[in-house]
Amino acid sequence: MLIIFKDMMRGSETFSPYIPTYGMDGERRNCMEDTDIIELYWSRSQEAIRETKKKYDKLCSHIADRILHSREDAEECVQDTYLAVWNRIPEERPSYFRAFLCKITRNIAMDRLDYNLAGKRSRQQTISFEELEETFSDTPNLTEGIELGELTEQINVFLEQLPVKQRRILVRRYFFMDSVVQIAADMNMNINSVKSILRRENRKLRAHLRKGGYGDDR
């Protein structure tokens, strides 16, 4: 629903009580260091999962919830994340444990979303990125011939050369799936600024991919 508002009361900087659960849990001060948690995984101590949950449950839940829009599904997804981390850590030693967790959560949530949508278990579950679709709709074959890993690499190269602010906006939107409104609020920006940056950077990404020889001209 479109919302048009006007200041009814002057001088108020009003706030929503919604607290994005992006950050850490309230009890985080009593949490372990990431390196210590990883050590626990390496030593196959089940304490590792408890400590991960204690420290990053909100973060993982936030990511899953943003994708699935279902608390129940998100909770299951986060549980699956802990199991996946448990299974992966002996083979991998992540440099950035938080990012590692985020990626796993996101991928599991995306898989779950695909599963839900394929079975039409929930018609409500859709992710809409109008600005992304808008930019890439006229070049439907742009990413057709690219392997996923190659596309990620291209995105990495593209993100690398962006100013921090722009990069952060893209990552929050397309990795963390945050809404434009939320990004604008958290980054002290106005909504239209965020929208414009997204559109502009998407166009640049499209140009970057084309320049790389992908799409029609390949």
Partner: protein, 499 residues
């Protein structure tokens, strides 16, 4: 296509995710905790998601409209004349290297520099405020945030003047069995009062955290009266219920809350008991309207009569179905309804006179405010929130007077620029137009003085390292362009006053 891109984004370099999370720690939580047990930086000065009636400001802050130098009023279409006043030369903003201003009084302000006033063609006065910490304008004062603490200052005669008269309004409030938390600073300066709600994330016990999920947000209205709005989010939607503060605002324990909507019921149920109540509009001291319902998706607009204590459905009142937004304008309401038979999200907009019940269509099948430089197929309107809007049809832009319905064609619009949004000042007589943000900031500014029927055009170039991100009115004749540098650790504000 987009699915593949989103999948690819899911595997991006960990560094980018970590960078984002590190920033989010500080800006969202208000507390940066890189290491457990250590609070590295406290920052409670964050802006959070603006609540209902504040969002229009956010929605229109970024302006993306500019008028080309070829802007002329063609006699064929002339209904009244706009004189074009092109300011000479181009304003070039360079790095400021100056000692702290003479008005600086303590170390906290020592990092804030104020440039001398510069006149631009005797039309505009410009002043640059640079700060080695985050600073933002707030109405006509400035707020700086340092280690989570907000301090306030004013720019007077080329100097930074600290504002000391600050009263903290903080504590738990209980109303109708609902406990909520209030935390605001009331700033008094030169006979005017400003309110800043402070967002802080409480990390204490569960019960207290629960209380703090509900917030009482303080505000001051046009008459100087204080209001507390109980604000919370639920699965059903947004709840914002305003209560007038009749008691002494100096003491939170004696602040007396007056529910002026107390006896108003919808379908026998008290207004305050609906889970969704939001999008408030004050039509007059007597009439208000808001979106009310059991869920956000099914909520409907109602008009409330605070004298007769009655609620009336706006659909019933205006005989319009599917009302999507409502805005008060004098004794009229501007209402938007979903257009039928259009693929895009289009709206029909009407002006409804509350006294005569006369209804007039202002816009038909229009898209609102969205930037789209690919097509001119749909008509677009950029609402300012005031009397005047910009309307674009077939690539031609018109200034529209909502009260009279008059449309004035603006010829010679730059084809590269969009009429995405336009800003109106508090008194509603000046429109601020600007070019899009570029690497050198906003290249062009246009100030349309409606009573004077003049459009002042200023070309500018920002040669500093700061990154301009927003433009907005501070007072009825002053506007500012905000920018930040060093990833938001430092600020710069270009403040323009129309002489």
């Amino acid at each position: 296509m987009t699915d593949k891109l989103l999948r690819a984004y899911g595997e991006i370099d960990d560094r980018f995710i970590e960078e984002c999370l590190a920033e989010t720690d500080s800006c969202i939580d208000g507390v940066l905790e890189r290491d457990c047990g250590k609070i590295v930086r406290v920052n409670t000065g964050r802006k959070t998601k603006p609540a209902a009636w504040h969002r229009v400001a956010a929605a229109v802050i970024l302006v993306a409209l500019a008028l080309s130098t070829a802007y002329q009023v063609n006699a064929q279409f002339r209904q009244w004349v706009i004189s074009i006043v092109r300011l000479n030369g181009r304003e070039e903003i360079r790095e400021q290297h100056m000692p702290a201003a003479s008005g600086t009084t303590n170390s906290s302000e020592a990092v804030i520099n104020v440039s001398p006033v510069k006149n631009i063609d005797d039309i505009l006065e410009v002043q640059y405020v640079t700060a080695k910490k985050p600073v933002e304008p707030y109405e006509d004062i400035y707020v700086s945030t340092d280690r989570g603490k907000e301090t306030y200052f004013s720019v007077q005669n080329n100097a930074c003047v600290s504002i000391r008269n600050i009263h903290s309004f903080k504590g738990t409030i209980c109303w109708q069995g609902q406990k909520g938390f209030a935390n605001a600073n009331v700033i008094s300066y030169q006979g005017k009062q400003y309110v800043r709600n402070i967002y802080d994330l409480y990390r204490g016990d569960r019960e207290e955290r629960k209380i703090r999920q509900k917030r009482f947000l303080l505000s001051v209205d046009d008459t100087g009266g204080f209001w507390l709005t109980l604000s919370k989010e639920s699965d059903e939607g947004t709840y914002e219920y305003p209560l007038r503060c009749d008691g002494d605002i100096q003491d939170i324990s004696t602040a007396k809350l007056n529910d002026i909507f107390r006896n108003i019921r919808i379908d026998g149920k008290r207004l305050c008991n609906y889970p969704v109540i939001t999008n408030w509009e004050k039509i007059s001291d007597r009439y208000y309207c808001a979106l009310v319902g059991k869920a956000q998706k099914t909520a409907k607009y109602y008009r409330f009569d605070t004298v007769q204590k009655k609620a009336m459905s706006l659909e019933e009142l205006t005989k319009q179905k599917d009302i999507r937004f409502v805005r008060a304008l004098g004794n009229t309401m501007i209402i938007g309804t979903a257009s039928e038979g259009t693929e895009e999200e289009c709206y029909d907009c009407y002006r409804f006179d509350l006294q005569s019940a006369e209804k007039k269509e202002l816009f038909h099948h229009v898209v609102i405010g969205e930037e789209d430089d690919e097509t001119n197929e749909v008509d677009r309107v950029a609402f300012t929130g005031g009397r005047y809007d910009l309307f674009t049809k077939n690539g031609t832009t018109y200034l529209v007077d909502e009260l009279t319905g008059e449309r004035i064609k603006l010829e010679g619009m730059d084809a590269d620029l969009n009429t995405e949004s336009v800003l109106i000042n508090v008194s509603g007589d000046k429109l601020l137009l600007s070019a899009r943000f570029s690497e050198n900031g906003i290249r062009k500014l246009g100030i349309l003085d409606v009573p004077e029927r003049k459009l002042y055009l200023l070309e500018r170039k920002n040669l500093t390292q700061s990154e301009e991100s927003s433009v907005h009115w501070l007072t009825e004749d002053t506007f500012a362009i905000e920018s930040d540098r060093k990833n938001g650790q430092e600020s710069m504000i270009c403040q323009y006053r129309i002489r």
